[in-house]
């Protein structure tokens, strides 16, 4: 009956769909229809309304205006029928962590009336597909982030839903697991499952049939990835800087954005600019080469300058310079928890002023390594100096020399922007005029309005991230640690964040970053790849490519996977 219905009409039809939360407009009149078997990607900056749209489709929210039909049912009047049939994977980890893999799956099956042989067959097939069979008895909380997400997907597939809604499935998941997750989704495609997926990964959007671009509740564009890329055609160039060539000014007329990669610039022009005129404009900077745009460029093109307008005017070359620079040196640094070795004999040498990227799967030991270098964890063996200070020595000196921004942006959500800054300044022992000067400098460097009257909890993810950065650099640390600073933030804000990082490094600050967005690795001067606690490779991208016998144009993901395979 359901399949007959879905043949007759599209699985999702939204008409003038709108919803507000108090004064905030989350979704403002979206018209959208998803065809049977189609894969639709939802992209857009933080607060664009992606999650709200998915929750409206899942009948978890009632629309404020307009209506939505899912599988032929109205989301308000026939919510139960929709919720009984579809699959919906919320953001984050939403399974029962105290239950095992099997128990989570069995619960999902039993509430959906999947029992007996049908259940046993599907269970076997799903666990095999997800590679979770060996872990069937393991508690959910003991799985890696990638496995938890795959299990969540399995629990939503046990009733073979014709429609699957996924909210940021790749968030907090390492590249390898993310690949496996998408392999599972590719398998569903053959079965004609309709898929709507919200994502901040442009490579995930690229895998969709059509991509809907949302901004502040409005649908700005809805097209195939190829057609979207065509909109940015002829606007993207790379500039290979000649040695000793001039630095580009912060803004150029007709130029939408300039991304600074370690070896080149990536320039995007305003649409409609004459290509040859642009080449002339850019020529003084170095060798100009036209390149194919990717979805990230489309994103830059479509996202209108909004609250980030102030941030666009950040100083290209920050005023203050870090006190005295200091790098990082570790020898055989090890951390064990009982029989488990989280970090296994890591030896590193990072010179002052370098941006060093740490890549690795969930649980590879990146966070533990950073915590040891910040003095938050004691090493079990080995030694390390950060800015010339031994991590096992006096904590006070070490804490003054390092800044740390954690995965969760440790801010006080109920304090205002300025109150957060003042608190972290006083925690660093800054007061009076020194505190005010430090706050002003940190806010300027982070592209943040220190007088923003909003509370930290009501800021967008991108602004919260900048506030967290400002709090971490208030005391002018010589070494800055950023643990997944860009998780869940849209591509444009991510890029702007990287521009801030680059400015900080230019003052001599050493920056160590972990990230799951492999394209961001291109912003780092050197990379370290971690696997099961060990540092399996380190060096710049070219060196890593050569070590893995890869072509010069091989992407970061290929390099990452090749090194993992070499050691496996």
């Amino acid at each position: 009956m359901d399949s007959a219905l879905s043949q007759a009409q599209p699985p999702v039809v939204a008409s003038a769909l709108a919803r507000r939360f108090g004064k905030v407009v989350a979704l403002a009149g979206v018209d959208l229809s998803v065809a049977a078997g189609e894969r639709l990607g939802l992209v857009g900056p933080d607060g664009a309304g992606k999650s709200t749209l998915l929750q409206l489709m899942a009948a978890l929210l009632d629309p404020g205006a307009g209506h939505c039909r899912v599988l032929g049912f109205d989301t308000v009047r026939e919510a139960a029928k929709i919720q009984a049939r579809i699959g919906y994977m919320a953001q984050g980890f939403t399974l029962y962590e105290r239950l095992s893999v099997d128990e989570n799956l069995a619960f999902a099956a039993r509430v959906r009336g999947v029992t007996g042989d049908t259940y046993r067959e599907r269970r076997a097939a799903l666990l095999a597909m997800a590679g979770l069979e060996p872990f069937a008895a393991r508690r959910e909380r003991d799985l890696s982030g990638g496995m938890r997400k795959k299990l969540a997907l399995c629990t939503n597939l046990i009733h073979e839903p014709p429609l699957l809604l996924l909210d940021e499935p790749g968030l907090g998941v390492d590249p390898l697991s993310r690949r496996e997750l998408w392999q599972m989704l590719d398998g569903l495609r053959a079965r004609g499952v309709t898929l709507v997926v919200a994502t901040s990964y442009m490579d995930e959007a690229e895998r969709c049939d059509r991509v809907a671009f949302l901004d502040r509740g409005r649908l700005l564009a809805l097209d195939t990835p190829a057609a979207l890329r065509a909109r940015a055609a002829g606007t993207t160039f790379t500039v290979t800087r000649t040695a000793g060539g001039a630095l580009p000014p912060a803004t150029l007329p007709g130029v939408r954005s300039i991304k600074h990669l370690p070896d080149r610039l990536r320039v995007q022009l305003e649409p409609g600019r004459n290509g040859s005129a642009a080449q002339r404009l850019l020529a003084p900077l170095g060798t100009v080469q036209a390149v194919e745009p990717d979805l990230e460029d489309v994103f830059t093109l479509l996202a209108p300058a909004g609250e980030d307008a102030a941030a666009a005017a950040w100083p290209a070359h920050p005023v203050a310079a870090a006190a005295s620079a200091g790098g990082i040196r570790t020898v055989g640094l090890t951390r064990r928890y009982g029989a488990f070795t989280a970090v296994d004999a890591v030896s590193l040498d990072i010179p002052p002023g370098e941006i060093f990227g740490l890549l690795g799967a969930n649980g590879a030991g990146k966070t533990t390594l950073i915590k040891m270098l910040c003095g938050l964890e004691r090493p079990s063996a080995g030694s390390a100096t950060v800015a010339g200070i031994a991590v096992t020595g006096a904590r006070g000196a070490l804490h003054r020399a390092v800044g740390y921004m954690s995965q969760r942006f440790s801010l006080y959500p109920d304090l205002r922007v300025a109150e957060n800054l003042r608190f972290f300044a006083s925690a660093q022992g800054l007061s009076g005029a020194r505190a005010r000067a430090a706050i002003a400098a940190a806010a300027a460097e982070s592209g943040l309005d220190a007088g923003d009257p909003r509370r930290a909890g009501s800021l967008s993810g991108a602004l919260r991230q900048r506030l967290a950065l400002a709090c971490a650099v208030l005391h002018r640390p010589r070494v800055l640690f950023l643990d997944e600073p860009t998780s869940g933030v849209d591509p444009l804000s991510r890029y702007r964040f990287w521009a801030l990082i680059r400015n900080l490094a230019a003052t001599g600050m050493t920056v160590v970053v972990t990230t799951h967005y492999l394209e961001e690795a291109a912003f780092c001067q050197r990379l370290g790849l971690m696997q099961r606690g060990r540092l399996i490779a380190s060096g710049d991208l070219a060196t890593l490519r050569a070590q893995a016998d890869l072509a010069a144009d091989a992407g970061v993901e290929a390099v990452f996977l090749a090194h993992l395979r070499q050691t496996a």
């Binding site: 929750q55 978890l60 929210l61 919906y88 029962y96 039993r110 009336g113």
Partner: protein, 363 residues
């Protein structure tokens, strides 16, 4: 309502509870700890109250009077004084609760068949104790007094003839302890799912709101019933509270009351989004009123009328009343049916409200 789905919910919930032995242990141990603490701490009995004496008469009669005081178990001679200033100082310092001032000429007054006068000074900072001590002191003096009264009064205390506080405190605690923990546990169990987001997975499934709530209600109701059974066992066996009425009636009413407390937890969870708020709200609407407005510590009939009406909002009052009636007075259904009917009605209303408030929506 689909039995298989409810069973799935029950199985999942029970497993989660059993996998968290610390919470389960706290849930079972806390009521006992509370019972032991309150059973020993809340005592209105006065024993060996420190007594100060200023005897200015120094006659055989005055010494006899002092001996009458110290011979009882209510008073213990702590200090003696030689002038009135010392008495005042001792009362202010709190070293005595009661001071006996015997003026000069007590014996002579008696010989002249005049009414002799003595003074008793009481520390009234805690009025209930002061009242009791004053009563004991008058009775003690009267026994030495000369004239036989015209009418003999014989007082008999019914229902708790030994006037042991614990006999009255423990049946009241049954009602208070059950309000302290089950609502909190139940509310947290649901709000935790809201916080982790797992509730969204439940919403997008055929599981209905009532099925979800029953799956939460039954396991936590069972824990609450275990709590009441344990608390009763300790009350009757350890504190030796005599049971005058029917244990079956008390357990049955306890069962209804348990459902009511768990239902209040469900209701709290439907209006809160974070565990912290749920905890505060549960404390404010369940634990606090059950202490103050259930008649457990402060008798309701002495409260202002408006406050008496206010106490009617909280179910603890009906159960504390019923529990004391059964345990101390041996009352049965004939006397207590209104309380039971009110409890059942209350429980039904709480469930209806929770089911109505609970929607499979995130906002």
């Amino acid at each position: 309502m689909n039995a298989r789905r409810v069973a799935a919910m029950l199985g999942k919930e029970s497993r989660e509870i059993l996998r968290d032995p610390i919470t389960l242990g706290v849930a079972l141990a806390m009521p006992l700890i509370m019972l032991l603490l309150f059973g020993y701490a809340i005592s209105l009995d006065v024993r060996e109250a420190p007594l100060g004496v200023l005897d200015l008469d120094r006659s055989p009669l005055s010494r006899q009077l002092v001996r009458r005081f110290t011979d009882t178990e209510y008073f213990a001679l702590a200090e003696t004084y030689t002038d009135l200033h010392a008495v005042e100082g001792a009362l202010r310092a709190g070293s005595v609760k009661l001071a006996l001032v015997i003026p000069r000429g007590l014996a002579q007054a008696r010989q002249r068949r005049e009414a002799p006068r003595i003074q008793i000074l009481l520390d009234g900072t805690y009025s209930a104790t002061a009242n009791l001590l004053g009563g004991y002191a008058r009775a003690t003096v009267a026994a030495v007094g000369p004239a036989a009264p015209a009418i003999e009064v014989r007082t008999r205390v019914w229902y708790n003839p030994s006037l042991r506080s614990v006999n009255d405190v423990v049946p009241g605690l049954f009602g208070v302890i059950l309000m302290a923990f089950p609502p909190l546990l139940t509310a947290l169990a649901i709000v935790r799912e809201k916080e982790t987001g797992s509730i969204q997975q439940v919403f997008v499934s055929p599981l209905s709101g009532p099925e979800f709530l029953i799956g939460k209600l039954l396991p936590y109701g069972l824990i609450a019933f275990l709590q009441i059974a344990m608390v009763m066992a300790v009350g009757f066996l350890w504190f030796q509270v005599p049971m005058a009425g029917s244990l079956a009636l008390l357990l049955a009413a306890g069962g209804v009351y348990v459902l009511c407390t768990v239902g209040l937890g469900l209701l709290v969870s439907t209006v809160t989004e974070s565990q912290l708020i749920a905890m505060l709200l549960a404390l404010i609407i369940t634990l606090m009123p059950s202490f103050l407005f259930s008649g457990f510590l402060f008798p309701i009939f002495t409260m202002p009328y408006a406050l008496q009406l206010y106490t009617a909002i909280f179910p603890a009052r009906y159960f504390v009343d019923l529990s004391r009636g059964v345990v101390l007075k041996g009352a049965g259904l004939a006397e207590l049916w209104p309380n039971l009917v009110l409890l059942i009605g209350y429980t039904a209303a709480v469930f209806a409200l929770a089911a109505w408030r609970f929607r499979k929506k995130v906002a």
